[in-house]
Symmetry: C2
Subunit: 160 residues, 2 copies
């Protein structure tokens, strides 16, 4: 083990937006078409506003020496099943490319789990692209069980 890295976590603000976009634009596997091109900035700003306005979403950033080095979004979902289970879904987990392998991702997920416990969440869930075998081992080491298959469907943009 190397020395513990001194990353701290807090909720994102609009001032973090460009750094967050850069994190996602740097990800080759997800294939989400993210870009730091300024033409896309309004779409990101609109999404940020929607997340901030949602009472059931929190967007976290990991900060090291005043720089955003990681992020994750959590969504709280109450469902009827399991006698009314309170769940946390974790989405859009990312560590900056040059900051991987330092334990930042594990600290980020543990931060999400701490928040879940504070809010009396019974079940934490996430999906990971089937291609990301390293990520699967990472989540299993953290105590997650790969118990489900994740299905996605892209919908065509509405014609206007």
């Amino acid at each position: 083990m190397t020395a513990e890295i001194d990353v701290t976590f807090r909720q994102a603000t609009i001032d973090d937006l460009r750094a967050l976009i850069a994190l996602f634009a740097d990800d080759p596997i997800g294939g989400h078409g993210d870009t730091t091109d300024s033409s896309a900035l309004p779409a990101y700003a609109s999404a940020f506003a929607a997340i901030e306005a949602s009472p059931n979403d929190l967007l976290f950033v990991g900060v090291l020496k005043d720089e955003v080095v990681a992020t994750a979004q959590v969504t709280f979902i109450t469902s009827l099943t399991g006698r009314g289970t309170k769940r946390m879904a974790i989405e859009a987990v990312q560590t900056r490319a040059d900051m991987r392998g330092k334990g930042i991702g594990a600290k980020l997920i543990r931060h999400c789990l701490d928040v879940a416990r504070e809010r009396d969440i019974a079940l934490v869930q996430l999906t990971s692209n089937a291609k990301r075998q390293d990520a699967h081992r990472f989540y299993e080491r953290l105590g997650f069980e790969k118990s489900h298959a994740g299905f996605k469907m892209r919908l065509a943009p509405a014609s206007t």
Copy 2:
């Protein structure tokens, strides 16, 4: 193909709660511990209130001859990835045991997809227990891609 079954879909109301609990209590695979025992009713009523209060959740019921025969919950999640993707997550999909194999589940999911299109959702996602191979084929027939692995972690109830 048999004749199309005449199921209709609408948002659930509190009057549907007992029928919804009975649907979930009848599911042997999920292992969610659901029960029609009246001691659990307050927990379900509290969950129903949380879903109803959430601006990002809708709980649907499928109704046939004035009886609730199916249900699904959808959650709208905006994320930064993909230039601000609007997603719909589908959870807690259930068809009444004696009503399976009649195409009700497919109609239910298509109803969710219709709602997604109305709301300009780009990506619809769900997870299904790895044991539910029939469900996996069902979702693939409907056009979903099994592209992800789904991870879950149960948290112990907070000590009080």
